[in-house]
Structures are given as C-alpha cells and as structure tokens.
Symmetry: C3
Subunit: 480 residues, 3 copies
C-alpha cells in the first residue's frame, strides 16, 4: 500500500513513524515556558483533549500553577517527548534554549511572541528563533489571539489564526492543531511574512485614521461656519433666538456637505493619477507618495461619505416629527386664517422640493449599493470588471446625482442677495465647488483626444518607445 507509506511522512513527520498523521490525541504537545500564555494555552489544549507537557526550568515550583492533567517537567524532557512545541518565552530568552538544540532538531517550534511596537525593519522574532535552531522547523502563529480567546476558546470576533512557515508539513501540522482547537488557520505563506503577523495585533484601523480625521475636520469647520452664519449672527444682530436648531437642524445642514466633499475626494485622486500618466506619457512610473496613499484611502473615504449621507437622511426624515415643526405649522395655519388667504400653494417651491427630494433619495440608493459591494464577502465575489463598473460607473453616478441634489436645494437662492446678509455665502455654495471640479475633470478625460491616449498608455504604450513597441506585436498582450 504505497499510499499508506506515503502518508506518514507527509503529515506525521519523522518523529513518530507509527502514529497516524492526523491523530492529534496521542502525541503530546509541548509548551516551553510557564508564563500566562503558557498556562492559558495549557488550559485550552487540555480542554481539547490533547496531552500537554510544559517544560519549565523549575518544574517542582510551577507544577501547582497548572491544571491537573498537564504534565509539568523539565524543558529537556518536554523537548524530547513532544513533536510540536510552543515557545512561550520572551524573545530575549530564546537563547536560553540553546542547550536543547539537539532535542529540538527535527521538531516543530511554534513562535507565539508578539511585538510591543510596530516592527518595520528588524527581523521577526520567529526568524530569529529559526536562525537559532536551523535544525528545527519554526512556525509563526497563535499570536493574533487574545488571551481571552486562548483561554476560553474562540468566541465571537475573528477566529482566524495567521500561520506562516518555510516548512510546508510543519505548517500543515500546526494548522490542523489550530483547527482542532476551534480556530481557523490562515496560511500566510513563508516565514518571511512572520513580521507582518507579529505586527498584525498592534494595528487599530490603520487605514481609517486619515479619512476619519478628514471627515471630522470637515464636519466641524462646516458646523461652526453654519453656527456663526445661521444662529449666532442672527441672534447678535437681530436678536432672533434659534439656538434650538443646534442639535438637529445645524447637524443636518452640515452632514450632507461633508458627505458630498468626501465623495468628491474619492474620485479626485483617480483624476490626478490619470493626469499624471497623461503628462508622463507612461504608466510605468510610480506615483508620488501622497497620491499613492490617497488612492489607497478611497474605499474608506467613500464609506464615510455614505455614512454621513445615511445620517443626513435619518436627520431629514426626523424633521417633521419635531415639536418645532409642529408649532411652526400651527402658527402658519393661524396666520393664513387671519390673512384669510384661501390657498398658500406656491408651484415653484413645490417643484423645487419634489426634485430636491427625489435626487437625494436616488443618490442615497446608489450610494448604498456602493457600500454593499465594499463588504469583503461581496467584493470578493466580483471580478475586476464588475468591481470597476460598480466603483467608477455607479460612483460617478452617485456623485453627479448628489451634486444635483445640492444644486436643486440651492435653486436660485445662490443668487438671492438675501442669502448674503452678513456677507457670508451659504455653505452649499462652498460645498458644491469641489464636486463640480471633479465632474468637469472627468468630462475632460472623456474627450476622445485624451481618453484614447490614456487608454493607449494604460495598455502599456509609451511615448518614447512607440516604434519599438509596435515592431514586436507578436509578444504583446494585455489583460485589460
């Protein structure tokens, strides 16, 4: 049965030739070190019905710190008995294991250590461990788990355990172990990616920082401007007390502006990149750092823009609910009766409102489609043709419609001097500028002269290499 013979070395490793590859029950799992990680891990492994040997420098002293059923022995003994060993020491103390080199040869060492600070240049702890024990197969993993998840098994939140190693079988073995502990192993490839795995737990929404900051700044600048123009000045100058507008109306005037500007900021970098490629006449030069970073932020900018738009919708829908709206209506009715005017219908005002609303609703609908497609599981089910159709096609549609929404809101008020008392333009005038620029830029790129040239450039054509390129058509191909 050659297959059977094949199998053992494949997963079982050389250490226990007679143990079926996958039976994780019988072979002991070793842990070197008796710190908290070691103890949580021991609890967990025991709970999964595995045999656990903890290697300690002072077994007798530490035995009572581990649950019954865990064998606490010397490090040498643990190294000798177990085939897979978790190294639960501070990286600085890895060297203290040097004496065990012999016992650890051919064994699988799992490096569970975490960096305390982001490591961009130094070699990873796992790579240093591998350098110390060239005879052993080092696997990086289990560091992304919270102590809680480790002790009590995976709860909600990510069940993923990132694993990497240069030894295919060792990785496989640890992956099976992780699975049998209830986690989802994720193969991150070679040990060279250990550094990323060690950095992983240190990040806190790295890609969201600047987009979020940008949104917050936009919000407050617009809000304060609106406050001055719409609440403070009228109070100071005319003595109108409309401070009740602060919590709802002012916020609801500010959110759409933030949303619109953010949406424009999603599509601006793409235009700049295209312009740069047109200028340079090639796509093979990398973009300046700031543009590159900006391009990577588009998804986050877009989602924040959608969030603001959704909140704006929610606020607007709440407007008629407010007592203030109710009182105003009652007083208006009173006035109308007093004036004895049969009807207060104003056709133009009605039309403005209907158009303004319908643009807003449609824009929100399109934006929500964009938001859904940026869910990981949905985005992954799209091929790049579908993805670019949604992101650029639908995206520009959303931008145009929400610009129309703002314009119909403004209607002719932008030219009404009454809006400029205090000599401050209304905010929607300020907010609509950037989107208009972006839309015009996009139209410019749609001009045949530019679009054709850009298409050629993106197909790989270059100004200075024109001839060379077309003398070798037989070797030319492109995925676009």
């Amino acid at each position: 049965m050659p297959q059977g013979e094949m199998r053992k070395p494949l997963l079982g490793g050389a250490a226990e030739p007679d143990v079926p590859a996958c039976d994780l029950k019988s072979p002991a799992v070793g842990i070197l070190g008796t710190g908290d990680f070691s103890r949580s891990l021991a609890h967990r492994l025991l709970a999964c019905g595995l045999r656990v040997i903890v290697g300690s420098r002072s077994p007798d002293r530490n035995a009572d710190r581990f649950p019954a059923g865990v064998e606490v022995s010397t490090q040498r003994d643990a190294a000798a008995q177990a085939h897979v060993l978790f190294v639960a020491l501070f990286p600085d103390h890895y060297s203290s294991l040097a004496a065990l080199k012999g016992e650890l040869a051919g064994k699988v060492l799992v490096d569970v250590s975490n960096g305390t600070t982001l490591n961009r240049s130094r070699p990873s702890n796992a790579e240093e461990l591998a350098a110390l024990f060239p005879e052993s197969s080092v696997v990086k993993g289990f560091n992304v788990l919270s102590a809680w998840a480790l002790l009590n098994g995976p709860r909600d939140g990510s069940r993923q355990v990132l694993i990497c190693s240069d030894d295919f079988q060792a990785k496989n073995r640890v992956a099976l172990l992780a699975r049998s502990m209830g986690f989802v192993p994720v193969d991150m490839g070679c040990l060279s990616s250990a550094r990323d795995i060690e950095n992983a737990p240190l990040y806190l929404f790295p890609s969201w920082g600047s987009p979020f900051l940008c949104a917050v700044c936009l919000f407050f600048s617009f809000y304060i401007y609106n406050f001055f123009r719409g609440v403070l000045l009228p109070y100071v100058i005319k003595g109108h007390n409309v401070f009740y507008k602060l919590p709802v109306e002012m916020v609801n005037e500010t959110l759409p502006l933030v949303s619109l500007v953010m949406l424009a900021l999603v599509y601006l970098p793409g235009l700049l990149a295209a312009g740069l490629q047109l200028l340079r006449g090639t796509k093979y030069q990398t973009f300046p750092m700031w543009l590159d970073r900006w391009l990577c932020m588009r998804k986050q900018l877009g989602l924040l823009s959608f969030f603001c738009a959704a909140m704006h919708a929610l606020y607007s829908l709440c407007l008629p609910m407010r007592s203030s709206a109710r009182y105003k209506l009652l007083n208006a009715a009173f006035k109308q009766v007093k004036l004895g005017q049969e009807s207060s219908w104003m056709e133009q005002d009605v039309w403005r409102m209907e158009l303004y609303l319908s643009f807003g609703i449609v824009a929100l609908g399109v934006l929500s489609l964009l938001a859904v497609t940026s869910l990981p599981s949905v985005g992954n089910s799209l091929n790049w043709r579908e993805f670019s159709f949604v992101q650029s096609g639908l995206g520009y549609a959303a931008l145009s419609i929400s610009t129309l929404h703002t314009l119909t809101f403004g209607w002719n008020r932008a030219f009404d001097p009454g809006q400029y008392e205090f000599y401050l333009p209304p905010t929607f005038v300020l907010a609509v500028l950037l989107p208009c620029i972006v839309l015009l830029g996009r139209l410019a790129l749609a001009l045949p002269c530019l679009s054709l040239r850009l298409a050629r450039i993106r197909r790989g054509w270059e100004t200075r290499l024109h001839q060379v390129h077309f003398r070798l058509p037989d070797e030319d191909m492109s995925t676009v």
Copy 2:
C-alpha cells in the same frame, strides 16, 4: 523527473499508477447502495462528466432506476473498479459490506450519512465505518447538502461541503471531486470532527434560541403593560377610545424598551465575569455554566437589540404620515384659531424634542456600525484589538447614548404625578433601570483600584501565587 514521480502517489493514489493525479474524468467513481441519495448523486456525477459505477445487491433489478450512462453492477465489482466509493447505505447496514474488505483495502470510502438526532456522545458513523475498514481511508462529507442541491448542483445558499479525514491525500482527492461538482470543500481536519459534521445539518439557529425568546418575552410583557396603562384603563375609567394606537403607537413605545434592555443584557455578563474574577483573584477558574452561556449569547442579543432599534426608528418616522397625526394637527389648528392665540411655541418642549431626537439618531448610527462589524466577513478582517475596541468601546457608547435618549424622552415626566394616574409608572422608567445599573457597574470597574487589579489578574497574576510568579519573570509573557 523526480517531481513527476512524486506527484502520482500524492494525489493519484495507488490504484491507477498511470493516470495523472487530478484527471477526475477517467477513473470511475463508485456508489454503494441504490437509495435516493445514491440516485441523486449518480445524476449529479454523471452531469459533471464523471464515470459512475453503482454497486447494488441486485444490479439487474435496479439498473432501470438509474439514468442511462450509469453502470449498475455488483457491489464487489464497483469496489474493485472505483478508487473513490460513496457509501450510500444506512449506517446500520455498513456491516453488510464486511465481505468486500479485500476490495475496499486502500480505497477511499466517503461516508455521506446523516444523524437523525443530535449525537453528543456516540462515535460518529464515519468513525464506525473506519473501524470496520481499517485498510481503507474513510472521508466524511457531502452530508450537509440538501437532496435538491445534490441532484441539481449547488444553487444559492451554502455551497460548502464539510470534509474531514485522517488521510490527507484521500481528503484532498474528495475535496477535488467536490470542487469539480461545483461545491466548496471545507477542510474540517481529522475524522474526529466527523460527529460535528454529522450534527451540522440538524441545527436550526442553535445560538439564537434563548436570545430570541428573551426578546419576545420582553416585547409582550412591555406591550401588555402599555396596553393596560395607555389604552384599556383610559377606556374603562374615562371612556377615552384610543384603540387605534394598538398597531403603531403601542408597538413603537414598546420596541425601544426591548432594544434598550437587550443592549444592557449584552454588557451585563461581562461585568459579572469581571466581578467574579476580582472576587476569585484569578482568571484560571472557569465561569458557572449559565454565565458562560450568557457570554456566548452577547452577539445575538446585540443584533436583536439593533433590529428592535431599527424597527423603532422606522415606526417613529412613520408617525407623521398617519391620518391620525394629520387630524390631530388640523384640530389643533382649529383650536388655536378659536382661542385666537398668535403662537403656540413652547421653548422647553422644543428643546426636549430636539435633544431626544438627536440622541436617538446618534445611538442608531453607532449601533448600525456595531451591527456591520458583526458580519462574518467584516469581523474576520478585524484583529482582536480592533474588535474589542468596536464591541466594548462603541458598544458602551451606544448604551450610554440610548440611555440618554430614553432619559430625555422621559424628561421631567418621571416626576409628574399626572403620569402615575392608575398608580402605574410609565414603562420608560422601568426600562431605564437596568441600563443605568450596567453603566454604573462599568464606571465602578474604571476606578483605578479595581481596574488595575483586574488588569493584573487578566495578565495572569493570581492572589495566592504572587511571589512564585514574580520570581520567574524571565518565563512570563502575555499576548494582552
């Protein structure tokens, strides 16, 4: 070409040495049994262009029950010809195959059986099959598919086929087969997880049961209380007929209370757990069963709370649409005119409403962020630091804001004797108690004395082991 030699046994198995590993067209796939599963499977395999041999105890009688192209032969013949065999018999009849032990040696047997009742203790059918045929490689799989998906190929719904085996290559082979049938094989590790796979199709939202029940009970108790207090008693005692409030207003008064209490129930168990750890002075003792189960329910409780909150928003937004609101407004206008009062503006009422609304909107916004992060694909893209930030940071923010929402709704009415006619307190007074307790508890844990101690405990420190622990700093490490 050593690589080439390597390859064959790797996937091809010993049976067909000259067939390239992966070519699933030529080698026959066998099915033992002629029941419905066997026939659906045969249809499907045939549709995928595979050669199918059905092994029957009475081939002649069953031949006509299978589509043309399927070879119906004796079990012995099928066992001899095919390398992968689906065992489509009742587990009770596995023993009837004992005679084929020889032919089945070295073959891959796929156990497709399903339990009819949850199996918590007994060995799985697959493990029993493996015990009967130690020479063969048993793979568990294909049982999670509906007969419909099996016959017609995967439609919408889960395309996943959970697979497990102790034989790495056999598993690989069956995984490839599943893939070529259009399913997504999911490696569940060793045959020891076969029981979970057999139980999988029997569950119906196991983790949602008690949270859902809890929500329903809360809803009805609050609804009935509101009905008595707000509709029945006024009718009986004063003859006010406000039964029209039942479908919308009463539901809309009840939903936010349910949502608020559920949200508090999400964070209460965490506090209890922390308290328990403080009392015990260690984190290495497991929690009582009920607390453990409660901790596992938090996600579901939170999502139900969000659902109620969203429905509450929807109901509230519909209020101004109703004819009843319209009529009340018209009558109010009439009254105002009759009384000849210029303005009915009440500053305090206006402020209450504006604050109340804005708290509600913000709370819903935060809750929706929480809901999005609990989507599997989003949650998996978070590391545990991000996850805990969202779940505990944003979560407590949402709880505080929605408590404020309820308090501003209550405003001074809680102290208005008019609210206590019939001697029944308004529901928002009842509902706001638990959240306040939770928030106070959280604040208490934020006190340095407690928080530091708790942090130490969670870092692995224990009361009784204090000294021992710090005599071995070099072996201490933690991932937190």
Copy 3:
C-alpha cells in the same frame, strides 16, 4: 532528517535541490514575452523582492523597456534559469516556444492569457499549452487581475487569484508566489476548470441581467400607466394640474407594485417545479430550460424586490417633508376653520392607515432579514435547513404581509366606482393578483393529499417504481 528530505521535492521541485522549499527570494522567476503584461508583472515581482528574468526574442532591443534590476535575456536562457515561468505571449504564439521544449521540461509554466470572447466549447488556452508541453506542469492563473492591480499590487476590490492545475505541487508553488505578491490564491482544482478561469473576467453580472431587465420593464409599464391614469387624464379631461406628482408621488406609487410582483416571481417557479414533479410523479426528470433558469434567478429577483421595497419606504417617509404636503395641510386647516367644524377625525380612515403602515413596516423588516442572509458570508454560515427556513419560511411570510399591506392600502377603494373614472382600474388591483395566485398555490400544496405525495416524491419515491423501491429498504437512505 527524513522530514527535511521529504520537504524539498514537495515544494522546492527538482530544479534547485539545495534551496529551502519556500524561500521565494533566491530562485529566479521567469517571464516569456515582453508585452505590457510582462512588464507590469516584472515591475510587481521586482517590488516583491524577487529575481526576475525576462525571456525575449530580441533581448538587446527590449532591455531598456524594463526597470533596472530585471534581467532581460534570451527565451532559452530564461527557460533554463527559472523554475517558474510566466508565459506572457498571445496564445497564438505559444507554438513559437516549441524549440524550448527541452529547457521547459519539468518546469512550471503559468498561463496568464485571457479570452477575448466567452469560450463555451473550445479547449482553454492553458490546456492547449499543456498539450504543447506535456513534460512541463502548466498552471492557470493571474489572468483575473486588472493590469492596475498587477502593476501596483492589490488595492481594494477582489484580491483573489484563481489558480488551477493538474500538478498539485506546481499549483502550490504558484499559490505561494501569488501570496507573496499580496494576492489571495483560490484553488479551482484541475486544469479542466481553466476555461472557467479564462472566462471569469469577461462576465458583467451575468446572473443579474434578466432580473434587472424584468424590474425595469415592470417599473416603466406601471409608471406610465399611473401617469396616464393619475396625471395626464385628469389634466386633459378636468384640467387638474398635478404634474408635480411625477418625481416623488408617482415613483412612490410604482415602486411597491414592482417590489410585490418581483417577490411573487421569486416563489412562483418553486410552485411550478413542485407541480411538475407532482404531475411527473418523479424528481429525477430535469426541468425545462426556462424553469431551470428562472429557479436560478430567485436570489436576484428577491434582492431587487427588497431594493424596491426599501426605496418605497424611503420615498414614503419623505412625503410629509414636502412643501406640497405642507400647503395641503394649511389649506385643509383653513377650510376646516371656515366650515367651523370642531373635529375632522374619521375613525375608519385612521384605522386603515395604522394597519396599512404597520403591515408595511413589518414586511420591510422581514425582507431585510432575507436580504442580510443572502450576503455570501452570512449565507455560508447557514446550513441548508436554516437557509430553507429563512428563504421559504420568512420569504412566504414577507410575501403574505406585503400582500396584506397592499390590500389594506386598497381597503374598500377597489369597489369604489370613483376609482374607475376613465374605466382604468387602480394599479394596486392589478399588482395584487399575482401574489394572491402564488399564495393560493402555496396553500394548495399544503393540502395533505398533495404535500404527502410531494414529500414522498422528493424522498426519491417514484410512481412506476413503487414496488421495486420498497423491496429494498435496506439500501434506501436520504439526506432530506
């Protein structure tokens, strides 16, 4: 160290016996061809710190077209040095490599070509390449990437690289390479699925075409009908100018009808399928093509129906915000005062509205649950029992409730002759027919006589095989 010896051939391949399997830095990666794809790929590989050799038919002429660090050499030289070679030629020029057969033997050839048109029958380019070089291991992959993603590394959008091959190790090697380039390799099994991979980038929402078309047609036919009946005729005949209704009110009257009909279309094919099975007395006959396609569209139909329902909700919630609503209210107040009527309360109208609203809200709530479960990541976490519970149980609930929503909206107006001026029935009368038919059909299937028979059929029972079937109970089993 047998394990170590094992490892090399497993991933390292025969070419570089002394290089550790996974160290992708040292071994050169080759690219045959100097077109755009070749250059983008070279940029990317270089950026990942890999050694790149480009094989060109005229190295000297092409050297300057590649970034410094990329070795541009003869094809023969590249083939000799590299172990993994990307074939970046037009498929028509594959034969031009025939001379290199010797050098390419035992090497891994990656076919990155894309079809320009959907290929349903022809063998895939990758299979043709494999036929040309039987000694080499051909892997299909990297064709689904946009040139942008290839040049600049994966950005947002799908990071997946679909890979397939008949050589397990070659596939593994290319998967590791893809991972180290920052992509997510997805194993698509055997080279036989290369055609699907080549077709993948050509699709643009293939499954959404007809459902979307269906929705659009329904929308416009209903909208135009409403326009005639509600706007044009009143204007022409009575001179009522209500054109302001076009942007919001008319759309809001049309959307729910579309949504309702689409939802009915989700459940109709299931009924037809059941009926067909009852007529035929078996489930083993395939359905007619149109029905089969329809059954595959249900998910898309349902999601579009949900989208229309959500937009309808948004439109309806905006109604009270409009100036038109405001003016109407003011005028009504004026009228009421003039008429001096104390109260305009109409109990029946109030009740109609309350019921109508609450049905709508609940229906939307249920539909949104359905929508959430059709997210890939959520759907995959359901077993088929849960899935069918949600899709058929909740689905029919949603259908019934939204039918009630429409009926309460109609109330007694369906029998009010006033609705039939111009002899055109109101649209809700037309739209409610199909859902009623579907619901009645479902009820019919719930009759014991039919449901039992259907259940038997779906368990595999067949009219003509009744006896045979039950003489072999021991071999009968089913997953349902």
